[in-house]
């Protein structure tokens, strides 16, 4: 799987050269310098990663490569040399000859990049426009070959299907097949796996790696995910504020970052295999506004090592195979390790008195009943029948199908699963947003599914929620001060405007915001700050349980770390219980004491966070863990990868017996004599020898995370920064 040096022989042979590229957008509010003086080479047959957070200019760079930048954007300077021609200077007609043939592109969202009313076969053959004329039969044959190449089963049959018959992963494969149609030299893949689930992401990355290896096609992989880079790329270029701040071979970059931004990004990224005891190190502050002119180093304001010289444009240092723009490391010295993460400062601590602290030592021993107990919860939605027969019975979708678990006082439970597994439906059912079909939700001894009126309001004060997208979770027409005051007024928690204002100030300090900004509207804040406001609003009523539904999924890595640390901090100080719902195991693991893994509406495994991630029992958990790319090329290269075949079955029609059996690597499809998996539904049973762990599998523990994963349990933050060159 590793191909780090596979193309060393041809390494010196660049197929695409970008020199001093600058792309700007002339908007009504000034000129946005989206890409500024970017230079890099792509060598024949290599995979180059282009990483950066949102707004770093990586997508605009991709569009510039194909000269696809449209009004009000414009390529202002630079050259893009491909096959001896400068793409920037080509006419539209010449560009058409290169796009698709020499350079092609795969986009982020496979759902909207395919024409919904055209058959897949027609869309692929349309992309084939070689120099020699092809007959319909030849084109068809080639389409089948391409589909086989990207791993679409039964390609000849599927040619006649429309895009809606394909899952997200399959559509992305079709996109890749189309990009490959004319055997391009370079494929630009712009966040090709961001919209996909992690097990499907692993499949797509594998397809790209295969193409890279078999056809020698160079790939420019644009991503925000350092794990993806570590898994797939030979070289990496890190972008920040429209510039490339560092580029190097993947192994070098991860082991010994020479730009403080790269270092900070690595330290802020949650890892599966690092110790949980280390706090993530967020990058404080925000990236600069690209509409303002930036003098000197763009990262200087957030940099730990900034000094006077950083006000001037840093020099580009060329060291062997790597390049970086930094004053600190210009001498060739490696960066010193990052200082430890500092606490949020004294202003946040003042509030603890005002909040009830409920750390009860007895709760862990089982003497005190759990704060929340969910018994056999079922959430069912009615789905209108698609049949033309008006008397056809309606169908039911069991989003949550018989889930039981508990949350203790001051405990954080993580809930992970891929999209469509029912984790959000479960969270919403707890909050009373989704109606509970059957089952009980017992909160503090009361069944909250049966409450009404007065008591419902009581429950609402105990249970609060943090949403995925903070922009949509805040009323755009309300100042954040009003948004925070609302729960206080509604529940009559404060009397008089002065008291409300004082409490709003406290809440803002609690989440690390300046109370002076209370009069501003949500759009004036960054994503991370908005999420703080949402958290503060949830905390306004002193809840006992906070349900966080994908609370960090919409945030960039640096902000994600801020919010994760804040939640952990609040949880410890306020004695909160939390249900932390997420799809990203690495970040869920950082916050949670225990983790539940869901698959198709059911909990398949439950266990303490550390045990579950290191010694998973259920084959689904094992596969999920092995699919998560770890931001460490050494681990990635040595790790055993378990590739799950196929896609998630439809929750409308779940498989009989064990729901995972259709994809299970040790299930009836791969092993003889596993009829039991088909006929009998496994119950969630305690795992012998592992206290607190439960798994719903007839053959629990048969599959393990082998080899490399188990041995590399070292705190990576500490070791990484100290590795000398």
């Amino acid at each position: 799987m590793t191909h780090l040096n596979a193309h060393a022989g041809t390494a010196a042979d660049p197929v695409l050269q970008v020199q001093g590229l600058s792309t700007r957008f002339h908007t009504g509010r000034g000129t946005v310098r989206a890409v500024e003086n970017v230079s890099f080479d792509v060598r024949r047959g290599e995979t180059l990663g282009l990483v950066g957070e949102s707004g770093s200019g990586k997508s605009v760079t991709a569009m510039s490569l194909l000269n696809l930048v449209r009004e009000p954007g414009n390529i202002e300077a630079g050259h893009i040399l491909f096959r001896g021609k400068d793409i920037v200077a080509l006419s539209n007609k010449e560009l058409r000859g290169i796009r698709g043939n020499g350079l092609s592109m795969v986009f982020q969202d496979p759902m909207s990049s395919l024409n919904p009313i055209m058959r897949i076969g027609d869309q692929i053959t349309e992309a084939i426009h070689g120099k020699e004329r092809t007959t319909a039969a030849q084109a068809r044959e080639r389409a089948v070959k391409l589909m086989k190449l990207v791993g679409i089963p039964d390609p000849a049959l599927r040619l006649a299907d429309y895009p809606h018959r394909f899952s997200g992963g399959m559509r992305q494969r079709v996109m890749i097949a189309m990009a490959l149609a004319n055997e391009p030299d370079v494929i630009v893949a712009d966040e090709p796996t961001t919209a996909l689930d992690v097990t499907v992401q692993a499949q797509i990355l594998d397809v790209l790696a295969d193409i890279n290896r078999q056809l020698g096609t160079a790939i420019i992989l644009i991503t925000h995910n350092l794990g993806v880079v570590a898994r797939s790329c030979d070289r990496v270029a890190v972008m920040y504020a429209g510039r490339i701040v560092e580029q190097a071979r993947t192994a070098d970059l991860f082991a010994d970052p020479r730009h403080p931004y790269t270092q900070a990004l690595l330290a802020a990224t949650p890892r599966l295999l690092a110790s949980r005891a280390h706090a993530l190190m967020p990058i404080e502050g925000q990236p600069p506004n690209l509409a303002d002119a930036i003098t000197g180093c763009a990262f200087a304001q957030r940099c730990h090592f900034a000094h006077a010289a950083c006000q001037e444009q840093p020099p580009t240092t060329q060291l062997d195979d790597r390049r970086f723009d930094c004053w600190k490391t210009a001498s060739g010295e490696p960066l010193p390790p990052l200082p430890r993460h500092r606490s949020q400062g004294p202003e946040a601590v003042a509030l603890v008195r005002a909040m009830p602290v409920a750390e009860d030592p007895q709760s862990r021993t089982g003497l005190v009943p759990p704060l929340l107990e969910v018994r056999d919860l079922v959430v069912r939605f009615n789905v209108p029948s698609t049949s033309l027969n008006p008397f056809a019975p309606g169908r039911h979708l069991h989003a949550v199908d018989g889930v039981s678990f508990t949350i203790d006082r001051a405990e954080t439970v993580g809930l992970v699963g891929e999209s469509g597994c029912g984790k959000s439906s479960l969270g919403k059912a707890l909050m009373g947003i989704n109606p509970v079909t059957t089952g009980q939700v017992v909160f503090d001894g009361k069944d909250v599914t049966q409450l009404s009126g007065e008591q419902r309001q009581w429950v609402r004060r105990q249970l609060q929620m943090v949403f995925q997208d903070p922009m949509s979770a805040l009323n755009p027409r309300m100042t954040i001060g009003d948004a925070l005051a609302e729960p206080l007024i509604v529940h009559g928690l404060c009397k008089g405007a002065a008291q409300v204002q004082a409490r709003v100030g406290e809440l803002m300090q609690l989440v690390g915001l300046d109370p002076a900004v209370a009069t501003r509207y949500p759009h004036e804040f960054s994503g991370g700050q908005r999420q703080r406001v949402v958290i503060a609003r949830g905390l306004a009523v002193n809840p006992k349980l906070l349900v966080c539904d994908e609370a960090v999924a919409a945030l960039d890595v640096s902000l994600q770390a801020q919010v994760i640390n804040l939640l952990k901090d609040l949880q410890a100080r306020l004695g909160l219980s939390m249900l932390f719902i997420g799809h990203d195991l690495a970040s869920v693991r950082y916050v949670s004491d225990r983790i539940l893994v869901m698959y198709l509406g059911q909990v398949v495994e439950e266990g303490p966070a550390e045990t579950l991630t290191l010694q998973p029992q259920h084959p689904y958990t094992v596969s999920l863990l092995s699919a998560v790319p770890e931001p460490d090329p050494v681990t990635e290269a040595s790790r055993q990868r378990i590739m799950l075949g196929g896609d998630l079955p439809s929750p409308l029609d779940p498989p009989s017996g064990c729901r995972f059996r259709t994809r299970c690597p040790v299930g009836p499809l791969h092993r003889e004599g596993r009829e039991r998996c088909v006929s009998e539904q496994p119950a969630l049973m305690p795992v012998a020898g592992s206290p607190g762990s439960k798994a719903a599998c007839h053959f629990a523990g048969e599959m393990t995370l082998a080899g490399a994963t188990a041995t590399r349990v070292i705190p990576l933050h500490e070791s990484k920064e100290l590795i000398p060159t």
Partner: protein, 272 residues
């Protein structure tokens, strides 16, 4: 922020032109006594005169000054628009919110909106005139009634969209009551679509007044109105073409002005 989009919308060239046209027309109406030496009701023996200094737009078949009749006619349109549209908008908005909140009312109200939309404005006008008699009040009631289903539907769809957003869910989770949720959260966020519709409704009001007076169920003679003047002019199209031109131009300008405003606001407020 709440009004920056609105301000941006008002600053669009299209909106500005529309506003100017409407402002000029309304000003002319308001200044009618100053601008015209004649009363719109004064009859004289100089019937069907052509343009002259004494009568800049000529006179009608009863010798009334046409300039005065057109200018005072604008006032009628302004009165209709100012009374009828808020009436229709408030009723439609309330019913729309109600229909978004309850499935049973919702279905019932939606179907009654459909029923009301099935009547064209003129048929609705005839119905109203039959019930309360012809005259300016009939025009006001008709314009209001025609607007109810339009505002009702727009409010319903805007409210439904906003209700599905996380902040509405968050408010519910926080225990905010339904009424407060509607008034404090949903309505302020739905108002953009209503503003656009209101501007469009103004042009419709001018149009409906014209149509009703034209067929004789609107403003009662001898009161001046643009529609009535236009109707009377038809008979004399061959003799004095100037007779029909002035009311025609003013009606067109008013409709155009309001449509431009609506269009400009639409681009800034709704098409993000």
């Amino acid at each position: 922020m709440p009004d920056s989009a609105l301000r941006r919308g008002l600053r669009r060239p299209r909106t500005m032109i529309g506003l100017c046209i409407v402002a000029v027309c309304v000003l002319l109406g308001l200044l009618a006594p100053v601008l015209s030496p004649h009363s719109p009701m004064d009859q004289s023996f100089d019937a069907l005169q052509r343009l002259s200094l004494a009568h800049p737009l000529g006179t009608d078949e009863l010798g009334r000054d046409l300039l005065a009749r057109v200018l005072y006619g604008i006032r009628v349109d302004v009165v209709v628009a100012v009374f009828a549209i808020p009436l229709g908008a408030i009723a439609g908005c309330a019913l729309g919110m109600l229909s978004a909140n309850n499935r049973w009312y919702g279905t019932l109200l939606q179907r009654s909106f459909d029923l009301m939309l099935a009547f064209t404005a003129l048929v609705m006008g005839m119905l109203v005139a039959a019930l309360i008699g012809t005259g300016t009040p009939a025009v006001v009631v008709t314009v209001a009634l025609v607007n109810v289903p339009l505002f009702g539907r727009i409010t319903r769809s805007a409210v439904m969209t906003q209700l599905s957003r996380d902040y509405a869910v968050a408010a519910e989770v926080l225990g905010v009551s339904r009424g407060r949720l509607m008034l404090r959260h949903i309505l302020p966020n739905s108002v953009d679509a209503l503003i656009v519709q209101a501007a469009l409704s103004f042009s419709m009001a001018v149009f409906i007044e014209g149509a009703m007076s034209f067929v004789g169920i609107g403003v009662r003679p001898p009161n001046p109105s643009l529609g009535a003047t236009l109707k009377a002019s038809i008979n004399f199209l061959g003799q004095t073409p100037a007779y029909s031109i002035a009311p025609m131009v003013v009606v067109t300008l008013l409709v155009l002005g309001f449509t431009l405003i609506s269009d400009g606001l639409n681009q800034a407020l709704l098409k993000r």
